[in-house]
């Protein structure tokens, strides 16, 4: 499977060559697209998943430009390479920033983090087929509560709890308490430490 393309917005041939080589080494799977300016990048039809940007090419005020970029491409991940002085708040918009005085090791680590972080955000979509009430019940079941305790905690009849649980099982395709617990952790309904 081919990884999504990375759009690299740089001007200097030197930067282009450097980034091409680093990425070839660290992320051999990704294909690269080079753009000479941010405008060129914004005008493209596609929304690149990864954008690597030379800070020099970021029109001032930086935050405004980044906001615009984000609004055009909310899913995009932005890495800024600092070649000119950056306004501090850009960190809010950028997923990673390579600073001028970073060591080679730090740079490699930052690039790696940048791609890892993106894959973390690409987790499967949250399963929204169960209602808020059902989520609450999954949560309590996962925490080891009995039907009676759940009925007491949520002020509903035990019969209603049973009905909810049947619906949950048929919607999620999970029958056992242990299975619901795994589901609840995977979907952030509980954290492991709560158990």
């Amino acid at each position: 499977m081919k990884e999504p393309a990375v759009t690299i917005v740089v001007e200097d041939g030197f930067m282009q060559a450097a980034l091409r080589n680093i990425l070839k080494y660290l992320q051999p799977e990704v294909s690269l697209v080079f753009r000479g300016s941010l405008e060129e990048c914004l005008n493209g039809k596609t929304c690149p998943r990864f954008i690597i940007l030379d800070s020099k090419l970021l029109p001032q005020p930086h935050c405004y430009s980044l906001e615009k970029l984000k609004s055009r491409n909310p899913e995009g991940h932005i890495l800024i390479v600092e070649t000119s002085l950056l306004e501090q708040p850009v960190l809010v918009y950028a997923n990673e920033v390579i600073l001028r005085n970073d060591t080679e090791k730090t740079i490699n680590q930052k690039i790696k983090n940048f791609f890892d972080q993106a894959s973390k955000l690409a987790k499967p979509q949250y399963d929204d087929t169960i209602s808020e009430r059902e989520k609450e019940i999954v949560r309590l079941v996962a925490l080891g509560k009995t039907n009676k305790e759940i009925s007491g905690a949520l002020f509903i009849s035990p019969h209603t709890v049973v009905t909810h649980r049947k619906n949950i099982t048929s919607k999620l395709g999970i029958k056992t308490i242990a299975g619901l617990t795994v589901y609840a952790i995977l979907n952030g309904l509980i954290v492991k430490e709560e158990i």
């Binding site: 499977m1 890892d116 972080q117 894959s119 973390k120 987790k123 499967p124 399963d127 999620l172 395709g173 999970i174 029958k175 056992t176 242990a178 299975g179 795994v182 589901y183 952790i185 995977l186 979907n187 492991k192």
Partner: protein, 244 residues
């Protein structure tokens, strides 16, 4: 396809590859050329009627002429069941666990937590299956073999009668449910909720194996419930009648 004495075993394998582990339980290994079921059974000293019933019931879960299966010695059925237990414990579970461990090792850092949850869930499932199997091997099977032996040798002692009263097969007849549900959940968790693996061939392999295991276990449970248990019930009844 119904397997008959004259069927070439190779054809049966082409029909359904999942038969392979079933054949292994009869000590039949690959490389059997054009030999028929009849020839192979004779060669391996396998009771052919029993073999045909097991194989056909595996191919078609509705094929189950109980009356015919009832005519086999209990020992044969126990032996077959024990061999499938060995297959699950020695090969299948470690194999799947190995794949899950590999999945975890190769996982992207952000997926490690989710995969280790699956590993934990699988281990819990495996433990339950092992406990279930050990109970059968350590208590149920020895009990069945003991009363069968006593009945066949006409040695129904008061101890045997006591055992029949105390250990009756009905006590064991039901006990697969939670283990089956866990396997069902495990499949669904992987199919529906686990973040996709970087190496999708690994998660595919795990799922293939889980489905195969489930298929085999279902067949196994069917033989226990539809063949072994009724047969033992009948035996218990005869033993208690003998006493009267």
């Amino acid at each position: 396809m119904i397997i008959k004495p004259a069927t070439q075993l190779a054809d049966a394998i082409h029909e359904n590859i999942f038969l392979l582990p079933v054949l292994n339980r009869f000590d039949i290994q690959l490389g059997f050329g054009n030999k028929t079921v009849e020839q192979l059974c004779a060669e391996k000293g396998v009771n052919m009627q029993f073999f045909l019933e097991i194989v056909n019931s595996f191919l078609d879960k509705d094929y189950f002429p109980q009356s015919e299966l009832q005519s086999f010695p209990i020992r044969l059925i126990i032996d077959y069941i024990s061999r499938s237990h060995t297959f699950y414990l020695k090969y299948k579970l470690p194999q799947i666990e190995g794949l899950i461990v590999k999945l975890l090792e190769n996982a992207e850092p952000s997926n490690k937590k989710a995969y280790s949850l699956i590993r934990g869930f699988f281990e819990e499932y495996a433990r339950e299956l092992i406990v279930h199997i050990e109970k059968e091997e350590d208590f149920v099977h020895p009990y069945i073999l003991a009363i069968d032996d006593a009945y066949n040798k006409n040695l129904v002692t008061p101890e045997i009668i006591m055992r029949v009263k105390q250990e009756s097969i009905n006590k064991y007849a039901d006990g697969h449910d939670n283990v089956e549900d866990k396997l069902f959940d495990l499949k669904n968790l992987i199919i529906r909720y686990l973040p996709p693996a970087a190496d999708y061939t690994l998660s595919n392999a795990i799922l293939y194996d889980l489905f195969r295991l489930e298929r085999d276990l279902n067949d196994h449970a069917r033989i226990e419930e539809k063949v072994l248990v009724p047969k033992v019930r009948l035996l218990e009844k005869r033993i208690l009648a003998k006493k009267a």
